[in-house]
Symmetry: C2
Subunit: 218 residues, 2 copies
């Protein structure tokens, strides 16, 4: 993707508001919010989710540093999901009118936004496939591999020591499983020598195997 020109950046600058920090597990945007929020996650992880019924929570995507929060909502004008911080995070806040402004004045920026939304959609589609067609081992492998790969795009990541701040319950809520079963499945992956989790780090012992289980053709 081409980088943006000075005029594109000026559009962004004009709409930048302030920067805030949040503790883990705080609501960033949600169904209770007034108006639409538009943010960039400058540090830390977050996740997008939907409340299902009274007790069910479906995590739809994880958000990594550098990614945008609230783009879909700003485009559609309605809030179909909520976003929470997973770790401590730092957010840059923008005026949601930035979107409309970009489409009017900065085609390169608008195209970026559109591609960003498409990429999110592609991730959603991949998650649907994993949940719809795969068993617990494959689902976990899929999520672990995806998150490893997404982190690898921005910087070099040691597969044996990969940041992985998700708790069992996050994995469960993202993959349509229960915390208990996620745990059992992680044990199996560990005893099979594929991956292990220590604290908030993921250690990938057999990357080819993981990617194969994840459904990314070996």
């Amino acid at each position: 993707m081409r980088s943006l020109g000075p005029s594109d950046l000026a559009v962004v600058e004009a709409m930048t508001r302030r920067e805030v920090s949040l503790l883990p597990n705080r609501q960033i945007v949600g169904e209770g919010e007034i108006g639409l929020g538009l943010y960039m996650l400058t540090e830390g992880w977050a996740f997008r989710y939907r409340q299902v019924g009274e007790r069910g929570r479906q995590i739809v995507d994880f958000l990594l540093p550098g990614e945008i929060i609230g783009l879909q909502a700003s485009l559609l004008g309605v809030l179909e999901h909520s976003v929470r911080s997973l770790t401590s995070v730092r957010l840059k806040s923008y005026d949601p009118r930035l979107i409309a402004e970009a489409f009017e004045k900065s085609p390169a920026l608008a195209l970026r936004f559109a591609r960003y939304v498409s990429a999110e959609a592609a991730r959603s589609d991949a998650l649907i496939s994993a949940i719809g067609c795969c068993d617990a081992v494959q689902r976990l492998a899929f999520l672990m591999f995806s998150l490893y790969q997404r982190q690898s795009r921005n910087r070099v990541v040691d597969p044996r020591n990969c940041p992985f701040p998700l708790r069992r319950q996050h994995l469960a809520d993202a993959l349509g499983l229960t915390g208990a079963h996620v745990n059992r499945t992680i044990n199996r992956l560990k005893s099979d020598g594929v991956v292990s989790i220590n604290g908030r780090q993921l250690a990938i012992h057999d990357l080819p195997r993981l990617s194969e289980l994840a459904g990314f053709a070996a």
Copy 2:
């Protein structure tokens, strides 16, 4: 959404190619394709899906008349899924460069495309939630209700006689179930007086109940 101006339509006109008809269950775009296709579905239904492993097929979305095929692929430049006709269809074909052209010359059109992709993404997210958190009855209710509602947006649809060209296997592949279990579940919905399927028509006997089961707050 505001309607497009004459200059927007001119951009579309210039990129319009030809119109084609296809029989049911034909590949429209797929992993085997050369280049990216961009189409509008003028008549009939289609579905977007991903091949998972050797035998698994996950349907990610259904496409109704008036909807666009290949937008995500044209934006990202890669094909993450395939599209097939569900019924007989009629397609208008466009030059994929229409996308880039729109972003350069027609902000209103570009915004439309972006919103379209966002809406698709929102549907994907909703499907994730249904598959991840709901049992078979709720998943079926969700899909039936969604498709009824989408059709209702364009024209008046009789709930007792709603077009529904999906076979059991399509329902199964979309919802992460098997054809056999879809069938049993449909029987239960029928004996509970919620909906019934006759040929290619869906008859909704209890719309409030269906929407409640589907997770759309009663």
